[in-house]
């Protein structure tokens, strides 16, 4: 592995992953990204939903308009009520399995305030079995408040909550929260910081992916691109299992995962073969993601206006949507290489149906 402390891509990821940016409250992430890119782009603005839209002029004569998105938001929680004893009732923002919540430390709000999620002590269950995790309605976040009033003051309704997880090295990999999709954000930052490309580059850091691809949809309308690239952190499912012949979906360390089809869209064949050919020519390892699983912003981009060819290129991550994900730094670097080379090699012919 590279010396991660000196790799700007990883430094950016670490900075961004530790911030709280639950869907609908991405301000902190946006504010951290802005200074990283503003001296490297020609214009930048924030739209009505909170997307950060940057524009970097191309060097070609009639440049293609290329949209590249990475979403700033992460899954998390929102305060929905307060108990008489000072606990916080919460709802999940985005998809987080309930069985992951007990025993976690969380950050409440943007200050943030420390909180914990605990259960009745196992000693007091008197041998009761527990095949099912407690539903989220039965859990509270404990911030140590004495009563309802103190809890309401410290964490009013609507306050967002994330897992209290700091990004760090672990063996040959990196672990942290929100790699889905701060990994994509870190790559997009690096792409914008790099040399000018022939095409006009619209780098958009989007909001509200985890609640329905909302930011990408309006960004694609506004930018009106010729093609869209989506940078993601996607799932790896490689724990040993009882069932045989279960696909790991993608594999860690085997290069960027390219989507052929997911629940939200189908990649146009010419765009798919362009990216695969680029990987082969540039000797960049890559893999195809198992089709049919999860959704990405390409699903919000491809139906924009009259239609936009779009493709998702993702960093494989173990344990996404959990308190702590895992990614391989080589996958991060190779995803940047592949998306950059794929954009550099684009021509109008690449995108045309024949």
């Amino acid at each position: 592995m590279n010396d991660v402390r000196h790799d700007p891509l990883i430094t950016t990821l670490q900075t961004l992953a530790d911030l709280t940016g639950v869907s609908g409250d991405e301000t902190k992430v946006r504010r951290a990204i802005k200074p990283l890119v503003e001296n490297h782009v020609d214009t930048l603005r924030v739209d009505a939903l909170g997307n950060l839209i940057t524009y970097k002029r191309g060097t070609a004569e009639n440049p293609l308009r290329v949209l590249v998105t990475a979403h700033m938001d992460e899954v998390g929680f929102m305060v929905t009520g307060h108990t008489g004893e000072g606990g916080l009732r919460v709802a999940a923002v985005g998809s987080i399995p309930e069985r992951l919540l007990p025993g976690t430390h969380v950050w409440v709000g943007q200050e943030p305030l420390a909180g914990v999620i605990g259960l009745q002590a196992i000693h007091r269950l008197h041998g009761e079995s527990f095949p099912q995790a407690a539903p989220i309605e039965d859990l509270v976040v404990d911030i140590g408040a004495k009563n309802k009033e103190e809890a309401q003051e410290a964490a009013p309704l609507g306050t967002v909550i994330t897992f209290a997880t700091r990004c760090r090295e672990m063996g040959a990999v990196l672990t942290g929260k929100a790699f889905d999709d701060r990994a994509g954000c870190a790559i997009l930052v690096a792409l914008l910081q790099g040399e000018r490309l022939p095409c006009d580059l619209y780098g958009v850091f989007t909001v509200q992916e985890e609640v329905g691809l909302r930011g990408a949809r309006v960004a694609a309308y506004a930018v009106e691109p010729d093609v869209g690239f989506v940078l993601e952190g996607t799932l790896v499912d490689d724990l040993p299992k009882h069932e045989k012949d279960v696909s790991p979906t993608t594999e860690l360390g085997k290069g960027p995962a390219i989507t052929v089809m997911d629940r939200s869209y189908i990649t146009p064949p010419r765009l798919l073969s362009h990216v695969l050919k680029t990987a082969a020519v540039e000797s960049i390892p890559c893999q195809l993601k198992q089709p049919g699983i999860s959704g990405t912003e390409a699903g919000g981009i491809h139906p924009a206006r009259g239609g936009v060819p779009a493709i998702t290129i993702a960093v494989p991550c173990r344990y996404i949507h959990s308190p702590r994900a895992v990614l391989h730094p080589n996958d991060l670097a190779n995803t940047l290489r592949l998306v950059r080379a794929s954009i550099a090699r684009l021509t109008p012919e690449t995108l045309a149906f024949t």
Partner: protein, 352 residues
């Protein structure tokens, strides 16, 4: 002394899995050595420290016991790039998925307990508490390196930072029972400036979580005239009906029941009243599940008492206690020791 929070942070964040308590033991020894006259480690790994009393020899002795071991996991196999594990002590498997841990291999290795992504699970699977054969530790190392650094039988502890909550509460791992180890430490510090005629043994016991082993053996070795165990008890939390739980921040509990000698209980209460320390009476109908249960029947029997610190979410990595309760438990222990007259011995009214 450092602040109670910082001391608790040092004590709870250090690893001390059952039967492999050396790291936490060394840290506790460092803190105790300046406060005591003698200190040593016994055959099972309990740390035994002695402060001489001021009375004429041979002096009676009081033993204060707080266990230093913590629950964890033990490696039972290596499969691909992952470790298979089983519980070490009463580990609660409802809290395992996504947990950060330290694998105590050839060197300490950071790890996390993996979980399958929700995208590939059915609604029922997402709610299922993982069975032990679905629990795997990921160290980020490939199989060959993992095999070189980790062997079956290595222990694993939770890796969790202590955090401050509102109202002087602190949350983290292993407050069971480092909170009590800290209370004993605070008592030792107090006793530097207060007279006690009895010898005072502070014992950080090993292997409590697998059957109070360190308490049994150290009580035999020391043969104290009185023993006080310190442990944690169930704190009141949002999801209980209140019975058998104790408020955080309202003082430690003083336990009463067959495990405890009535005169020891009486004197603990008297010390609390004299020192103006709030306490909560805790009825324990049978076995206390603490070091006190083992100590009471050491040798020909030892008059025993128990001070407990209310704790929420016991055996979970978010154990939560009040810093003031920890301090009060330390003051109560010190207040109890200083009030033991040279000729006092617990006895029954009808004793011959």
């Amino acid at each position: 002394m450092e602040t109670t929070f910082n001391l608790l942070k040092t004590f709870t964040e250090a690893p001390g899995p059952v039967g492999r308590e050396h790291t936490i033991r060394e840290i506790v020894a460092e803190h105790w050595t300046p406060l005591v006259d003698e200190i040593h480690t016994d055959a099972l790994g309990s740390l035994i420290a002695l402060r001489h009393g001021s009375g004429p020899p041979p002096r009676p002795s009081l033993m204060a016991a707080a266990h230093i071991d913590e629950i964890g996991l033990i490696v039972t196999g290596i499969e691909n790039n992952f470790l298979r594990v089983q519980p070490l002590g009463g580990m609660d498997r409802r809290i395992l998925l996504g947990l950060e841990v330290t694998v105590h291999g050839q060197r300490p290795l950071p790890g996390i307990i993996g979980s399958r992504p929700p995208h590939v699970l059915s609604a029922a699977e997402r709610r299922k508490v993982a069975a032990w054969d679905e629990v795997f530790v990921d160290t980020g190392l490939a199989a060959d390196e993992l095999t070189a650094l980790v062997t079956v039988g290595d222990s694993i502890t939770v890796d969790r930072e202590l955090v401050a909550l509102k109202n002087g509460l602190a949350a983290g791992k292993a407050l069971d029972n480092r909170a009590s180890v800290l209370a004993v430490t605070l008592a030792l510090d107090i006793l530097r400036s207060r007279n006690h005629t009895w010898d005072f043994y502070a014992v950080a016991t090993a292997q409590e979580e697998v059957g109070v082993k360190g308490a049994i053996t150290s009580a035999y070795s020391l043969a104290p005239h009185i023993a006080i165990a310190l442990d944690v008890t169930f704190g009141k939390q949002h999801d209980d009906d209140g019975a058998g739980t104790f408020d955080l921040g309202q003082g430690p509990t003083i336990a009463m029941g067959p495990n405890f000698h009535p005169q020891v209980v009486e004197r603990l209460i008297a010390a609390a009243n004299a020192e103006e320390i709030p306490y909560q009476p805790e009825p324990v109908a049978g076995g206390s599940g603490t070091d006190a249960w083992g100590i009471q029947v050491a040798r020909e029997g030892i008059p025993t008492g128990l001070i407990e610190i209310p704790l929420r979410y016991m055996h979970q990595p978010v154990e939560t206690a009040s810093l003031r309760d920890i301090e009060r438990a330390g003051r109560l222990l010190a207040g109890f020791v200083t009030r033991l007259e040279a000729d006092f011995r617990p006895h029954w009214e009808d004793e011959l």
